[in-house]
C-alpha cells in the first residue's frame, strides 16, 4: 500500500476500513450505472441518491485511515484494481435491474451489518461518525426490500433473475462480511468489531425475510472462502478496470488540486 508510514501493507484494522470503503465506492459505481436505465424516473433518482450516499460514506471511511498513517488522497486516487479490497460480488457491472435489487438486498445489507458492528466497537471515530451513515442506509434498505418483494411476487422471469443474482452474490459476500481468518479474529478480540459468528447471525436475521421470499434459507448458505486473500480481505479477482478508473477519477486527474 502506498502512502502508509507502516511499510508496504496496512495493519488489519486499516485493511478492514479499506474493505468497507472500497466496497462502498464500487457499490456507488454500480448504482450509478443505473441512473438512466432504471424502471422509472423516481427509481433512477433513488439510485442516484444511493450512489451519492455510498461515495460520501466511502470518503468518510477513507479519511479515518489518516489515523493509521495513510494519505487518503493516494488511497482514493492512486491504487490499481489489484489493490482494491471491495466485495467480489461487485467486481462486474450489474447486468439487469434484478441484479441491482440483489446488490441492494445482499451487498448493501452486508455493509450495513459490518458498519453497525464497527459503530459499536472501540474505535472512537467510527462510534461518532458511522451512526449517521446507518441512518441514511435505512432508505437503501426500504428501497431494496420493496423492490425485492415486488420482483419476487411478480414471479416468472423477474423472480428467476432475482434468485439467480442472489444465489451468485451470497456466498462470496458472506465470506467478505464474516472472515474466518486470524486478522479478523484479532480485531474482534480487541473489541473493534463483532466476531465473525455474530455478524453472520445478524446478517441472517436481517436478510431472512427476503431470502425466504425466494425460497432460500439464509442461514444454510455456505460462505465461499475459496482463494481467500487475508491481505485484501476477499477472494480472488478484482473490480473491473473501468470501475476502478471511475473510482480513482482518472479522467479528471488534470483537475485535481492539493
Amino acid at each position: 500500500m502506498t502512502g502508509g508510514k507502516q511499510g508496504s501493507d496496512p495493519a488489519p484494522f486499516a485493511r478492514h476500513l479499506l474493505s468497507l470503503a472500497d466496497t462502498k465506492r464500487i457499490l456507488g459505481i454500480r448504482y450509478s450505472d443505473w441512473l438512466l436505465g432504471a424502471p422509472s424516473i423516481e427509481t433512477g433518482i433513488a439510485a442516484s441518491a444511493m450512489a451519492q450516499d455510498e461515495w460520501g460514506h466511502a470518503r468518510l471511511l477513507y479519511s479515518m485511515l489518516k489515523d493509521f498513517g495513510f494519505d487518503p488522497f493516494e488511497i482514493e486516487h492512486e491504487r490499481p484494481a489489484a489493490r482494491y479490497y471491495s466485495a467480489p460480488a461487485l467486481d462486474q457491472p450489474l447486468e439487469d435491474w434484478a441484479g441491482v435489487v440483489a446488490a441492494v438486498a445482499v451487498v448493501d445489507r452486508a455493509l450495513e451489518v459490518a458498519l453497525e458492528s464497527l459503530s459499536q466497537g472501540s474505535f472512537e471515530l467510527a462510534r461518532s461518525r458511522v451512526p449517521k451513515m446507518l441512518a441514511e442506509e435505512e432508505f437503501h434498505r426500504s428501497f431494496g426490500d420493496a423492490w425485492f418483494r415486488r420482483l419476487s411476487e411478480a414471479g416468472g422471469e423477474a423472480r428467476k433473475r432475482l434468485e439467480s443474482h442472489v444465489g451468485a452474490m451470497l456466498p462470496s459476500t458472506l465470506a467478505w462480511l464474516a472472515p474466518d481468518d486470524g486478522p479478523y479474529a484479532e480485531l474482534a478480540s480487541e473489541g473493534l468489531v463483532r466476531s465473525s459468528e455474530e455478524v453472520r447471525e445478524r446478517f441472517d436475521q436481517a436478510f431472512a425475510h427476503l431470502a425466504g421470499a425466494i425460497g432460500i434459507d439464509a442461514g444454510a448458505v455456505e460462505p465461499d472462502r475459496s482463494g481467500w486473500d487475508e491481505m485484501r480481505r476477499r477472494g480472488p479477482g478484482a473490480p473491473a478496470e473501468d470501475a476502478v478508473e471511475r473510482a480513482r477519477g482518472d479522467r479528471n486527474r488534470a483537475l485535481f488540486v492539493e
Binding site: 424502471p39 422509472s40 423516481e42 427509481t43 433518482i45 432508505f139 426490500d145 420493496a146 415486488r150
Partner: protein
Amino acid sequence: MTAGLGEEVYDVFARKNRGEPLHHIGYVDADGEALARVYAWTTYDEENWFEMCVIRRDNIIPVNRADGPWGTNRPPIGEAQ
C-alpha cells in the same frame, strides 16, 4: 389514481422549519408506501426538510373544487354524490 408500471400517485408535503405550514411540493409514482417514502425523500432533496410526508392521491378528498389534481376523487360539495 394509477401511474405507469401499475404504480400509484403519491402527493408529497413538506415544511422547512418547525411551525411553518406544510406545503405541497410535488408528487411521485410508486408501488406502495415504502417506495413512495424513498422516492419522495430522494426526489425532493433540494432542502433540508424538517418534516416530509406522503399521501396516496386517491385518499385526498377535495372540498370545493373539481378542477385540481384531486378533483376526480370525489365530487365537490354542492354537486350530486
